[in-house]
């Protein structure tokens, strides 16, 4: 399979990374969950983290925003060392990021409006009317405006995931973290979710890190772009891939691959080959 870069964009490696991990190791009362992990996420870059279940993909995401602390190594978010910062100083940094949790993690005692607008409500900078408008705009982005007054318990799994995406996007984050956003969903709903992620990537150019074990989702993200005129995701011309979407793969806590789709498909690593097959 012959692949080439779609366009020549800014030299990403020369700018400050949004996220940087340096030799990070973490364990929970046993063998290390993550071992000597190092990688960067550049501005406007989308990184897809692949790997089978239970290899520490979600843990890695939580380390990025300081929900967990590494035993060794350093984690930099927007240039700040989150791994050594006290919890109180992390809250403003986290507010600049958006995270979509594996099962959505919506607050089940709050309505969709209060879930999506949670951050704005807590910041107390906007009036209720302004918050309502922003919530509706965010819900419109995920095509769920009609759920405004509903509670999470009355939503389907796919809808909950889309509301979680709307919540992550409402404050226009500078970094997006997706933890298995399509896990456990049917193919049609999964495609809808990937459509939204591609839309966010191409419309707002927000850097992101997406964790998944579904190769189909990863390849779709790399081989499609959002067409603003048609208002939907369309495939790139044959042989072309999104130049800012790259891959990493974890196995048994170690980063065994870091590169482009082309490199992924032509790697000699036996585990990667087996995973791809």
């Amino acid at each position: 399979m012959s692949l080439s870069l779609l366009t020549e964009l800014d030299p990403l490696k020369d700018t400050m990374p949004v996220v940087e991990m340096r030799h990070v190791t973490l364990s929970f009362d046993g063998p290390p969950v993550l071992q000597d992990i190092s990688f960067k996420v550049a501005p406007h870059e989308t990184r897809i983290l692949l790997g089978p279940a239970g290899v520490g993909k979600s843990v890695l995401l939580k380390l990025i925003i300081g929900l967990l602390k590494p035993e060794k190594g350093e984690v930099l978010l927007f240039g700040d060392p989150v791994s050594s910062m006290p919890e109180q100083e992390l809250f403003p940094l986290r507010a600049r990021t958006g995270m979509v949790f594996q099962e959505g993690a919506l607050f089940d005692s709050l309505s969709v409006r209060d879930n999506v607008g949670y951050q704005l409500i807590e910041e107390k900078k906007l009036t209720d009317e302004e918050i309502d408008a922003k919530v509706r705009e965010s819900l419109r982005f995920v095509e769920l405006e009609e759920t405004f007054s509903l509670f999470p318990s009355s939503l389907s799994g796919g809808m909950r995931r889309r509301v979680a995406i709307a919540r992550a996007l409402i404050n226009q984050p500078e970094l997006l973290l997706y933890d298995s956003p399509t896990g456990g969903l049917d193919p049609i709903t999964s495609t809808n979710i990937i459509d939204l992620i591609v839309k966010q990537r191409d419309v707002h150019l927000t850097p992101s890190l997406l964790v998944t074990h579904r190769l189909q989702d990863a390849f779709t993200m790399c081989t499609h772009r959002f067409d603003a005129d048609k208002g939907e995701m369309v495939p790139l011309p044959t042989g072309q891939t999104d130049p800012n979407t790259t891959f990493m793969m974890l196995d048994e806590g170690k980063l065994i691959f870091d590169g482009t789709l082309h490199e992924l498909l032509h790697t000699d690593n036996a585990f990667v080959k087996e995973f791809l097959e």
């Binding site: 986290r94 949790f101 949670y118």
Partner: protein, 259 residues
């Protein structure tokens, strides 16, 4: 092997006590630094205080009633049934009102806090809150701690009042004694030190109930089974600590104001 297990358990206990101390201290100190979530404080006061009125009222009333029954039976042997009111009011106000209310509220609210926060932990809602830039300790724990302290104070007064009323009901309707004499003895027997003792205790008990309930909730691991475990630990630990704290406070208060 046995020494290793002992060593591990001892370290675990010390670590838990250390974690709890930091957690409990921060939950108190958060009131003095913004943001303070007053609306959550009011909501929790309603849930904890107003929601517990019925059980506190009933347990207080019947405790006073049974105290009057038991004391009248004993006092009649000495021809002193007239001081039943004094016996009931002193026992309720100095001891039973605060302890029983504490244990009742612990059963209702420490369990509720542990299970609610525990469920939020296992469904990643607490992580989501932190990820959204909101401190769960400030948003969820501090309002519960201050609401429980405030409400337990008033609930104890309610329990004391209904305990004395329960004693009066038994004295008048079952023991056929004079109600005026009962209330007169109940009033005359009370001193400032008794009321102070009875109203200082709920402040400590409220702190124990909320901090223990929230601590076990926030430390929940192991899915839904873990939520059940946290709930049990919260109720058992807070109930035992209330009784231990009662002994310590009584000891200190009696040395400050000897009877």
């Amino acid at each position: 092997m046995a020494i290793q297990t002992l060593d591990r358990t001892a370290k675990q206990i010390v670590l838990t006590v250390q974690d709890y101390s930091i957690f409990a201290w921060r939950s108190l100190m958060n009131l003095f630094r913004p943001p303070v979530y007053w609306s959550d404080f009011l909501m929790q006061s309603d849930i904890i205080g107003v929601g517990s009125v019925s059980i506190v009222l009933l347990s207080g009333f019947f405790t006073g009633a049974v105290l009057a029954l038991q004391s009248a039976a004993t006092l009649s042997a000495f021809g002193a049934t007239g001081i039943t009111g004094r016996f009931v009011s002193l026992t309720m106000i100095r001891e039973l009102g605060a302890v029983l209310t504490g244990i009742m509220v612990s059963g209702r609210n420490a369990s509720s806090m542990a299970s609610e926060l525990g469920s939020m932990v296992v469904t990643e809602q607490i992580d989501a809150m932190r990820a959204l830039g909101v401190d769960p300790l400030r948003k969820l724990v501090t309002p519960r701690v201050y609401a429980t302290i405030t409400m337990l104070f008033f609930l104890t007064i309610v329990a004391n009042a209904f305990g004395i009323l329960g004693g009066a009901a038994v004295t008048v309707f079952l023991n056929h004694q004079n109600g005026t004499q009962y209330f007169s003895m109940a009033w005359e027997g009370l001193h400032f030190r008794d009321v102070a003792q009875g109203l200082v205790k709920p402040l400590f008990f409220g702190y124990i109930i909320a901090s223990i309930g929230c601590f076990y909730g926030m430390k929940t691991t192991g899915g839904t089974q873990g939520v059940g475990r946290s709930t049990i630990q919260a109720v058992v630990t807070s109930s035992v600590l209330i009784i231990v704290a009662d002994f310590l406070i009584t000891h200190v208060m009696l040395s400050l104001w000897p009877s």
